[in-house]
Amino acid sequence: MFWAIDYACLALVVAAAVLVIRLRNLNGSVMALSAMGTVLALLFVVLGAPDDAHAQIVVGSIAVPTLYLIAIAKIRTEVVNEPELGEQGDTDAAADADAGRAGSGGDR
């Protein structure tokens, strides 16, 4: 039973990491990073380190994504809109264009 929970958490962590590098939306990547931190906290508890789980909850699932969001919010006022930076072969632009919102906020 222990190993089943362990492997399920490992699968979730690796899936969240794949989401971090596959999403072309920067805010989405930050949210996937936060999900990875949360699941990693559960994995730390499973591996018998509750103090590390405390630190990982505060740091990995809240502080670091908030830092990223602050950085994105500061960059967005400086850099003109170039959303698909560094993503060569993506064709799933329809997923993000599906929101179809009016306004200049882009993916906010």
Partner: protein, 86 residues
Amino acid sequence: MTLAIGVACLAEVVIGALLLIRVGLGPTVCDRIVALNTLSTQITLAVLLFAAFADRATYLDVSIWLASFSYLATIVWSRYLERGLL
């Protein structure tokens, strides 16, 4: 009884996998924050159930931290969506 609690803990993790699909798939950031909030709740319950499964009361404090701080994160991020963080 320990086995039942362990199976419930595993079920919460599997529900987290369902929510992770929505984190990857959500068209807007609000969808992702909704899925992330629910994922935090499920992980809180999973930590509680794992504490009962491993019979260590020390693990329970992690779930209290998670329950209090994940909502803080949700509120901060919705404020970021509404007005910008700076």
